[in-house]
Symmetry: C3
Subunit: 216 residues, 3 copies
Amino acid sequence: MPIAQCLMSIAYFCQMTLQYTFELLGTFFFAISGALAIRDHHNDLFGATFTGFVTAIGGGTLRDMMLGSYPLVWIGDIHFLYAILAGALTAYFFFRFLMGLRKTFLLFDTLGISFFTILGVEKALSLGVRPEIAAIMGMFTAIMGGVIRDVLTNETPVLFRKEIYATACLAGAILYLVLLNLDISRNLNLVISSVVIIVVRLLAVKFKLALPGFKR
Amino acid sequence: MPIAQCLMSIAYFCQMTLQYTFELLGTFFFAISGALAIRDHHNDLFGATFTGFVTAIGGGTLRDMMLGSYPLVWIGDIHFLYAILAGALTAYFFFRFLMGLRKTFLLFDTLGISFFTILGVEKALSLGVRPEIAAIMGMFTAIMGGVIRDVLTNETPVLFRKEIYATACLAGAILYLVLLNLDISRNLNLVISSVVIIVVRLLAVKFKLALPGFKR
Amino acid sequence: MPIAQCLMSIAYFCQMTLQYTFELLGTFFFAISGALAIRDHHNDLFGATFTGFVTAIGGGTLRDMMLGSYPLVWIGDIHFLYAILAGALTAYFFFRFLMGLRKTFLLFDTLGISFFTILGVEKALSLGVRPEIAAIMGMFTAIMGGVIRDVLTNETPVLFRKEIYATACLAGAILYLVLLNLDISRNLNLVISSVVIIVVRLLAVKFKLALPGFKR
């Protein structure tokens, strides 16, 4: 991107609504966390950009393909692609710095899942599905990008790791739907539900909280 | 689900046609078999429900997304979600009992694939595709939920295991199409084709039948 | 396929345009490379046909599902299914011969990715997306069939192996878009861009060229 286009993009960002900024930021955070997830056996710039891309767009793409909602967000609006490239390049050039910060990966990922959960619920509701389906779609928007990335890189999907992860998203999505039903203002609801997801997820990691397992 | 809603759901079931009952039962069986497929490294209630969900809806979802048929079955009709939850909870609370029954997993899975194959063929035909494509779609409806589950849980997909599995579904789908062409009544055709899939699959497991391999 | 239908198919092929022939040939090559990719633990005829099928249709299917373009190519035109079956049977009956030819797999795969990249770019452009998206779609058309195959068979996706692979497709796609902008004739553009992908890929394998990795 030449400099002029960069500046124009920045100006463009400034006039955006809160929601659009959140969507682009969530995409950027997810692309960083996806690119940082790279492992030794596939550690070049393309691989990092690809995993960043898949992590960032996977959940929303699956949601929209399941709901038959076209065009997909990142196909209809090229700024998402730029946000992903910016995230992948940030991960590449500040790799040591970002990895040096303990819990960096966790933080970016947690911000990403909390934004995307609520945005996914809202998108699904706007397409007229029932609340139960909207809650699932919110969770899918948040986690399926990471799940697809993990499948592609032969990791055990984040979904099945011990600490509460997808469940935090599902709880946040349900909370959003309950507060919506109680006529809480949308911006307040957005903030409360996002924060609950972030707090639940961070507490789960800190205290290694997990759901009850199968008895065998 | 509160008790009143449970009773209403049961009453609702009773008035359904044979096909709809089969669809919900197939979904329920698949959710049980998916939840039972859970392994040690991802053995909590959420993980079991998720694998049950993916196993139950994966095949039909892929079929409908490939055929461009919206809304997806489980998004348009909330009873499928309840059938999946019922299956996952059944697997969770009767885990020891179900695992104690030898071949339980096999039985539920075999019932699931036989119902779903025929339903998938019929759905594809109703959308106007050629019989060759309808046969593939029937097989996909039956097996792809399990394949996606196996990919997510890092198992070798059921597809590639020795005994005849997907081939039984494909054979049943082709048989259904042949009998349809011979003007056999639909209900009779449904029963014959389903039973053939079940018998072929169970015989294949019992006698370890497999297709000829590559010569090397 | 009875003989008469075979002959009719051959006659049909002969009257096709260059593009259509390329599409069917690419599908045939991909089906061979997919079927040859089979490993010991899933080495029967069905498994080979299935991996051939997934390799051949995976990329285009994902592209069209992302772009909301229906019917999918292989659902709307049955000749693609026949090309895949022909490829899988070729791989099965000439297995030793094909494996004996060193680099056979590489050659078929390279021809497949070069054809499919350009065809994917053109299809995406014809659906009205921006060039950046069309380049990604071209690359996806070429590589995602192999990626899905690798995921299903528990291999590390071809995408993440050392030598330049997906990057060659992306470079070819971008070259095609640049030449298109320069008003080069379409057929010439098609040949140049395809050949560049083939040459880059083969040189990368021969000299083990790779992109710069993460510094750690």
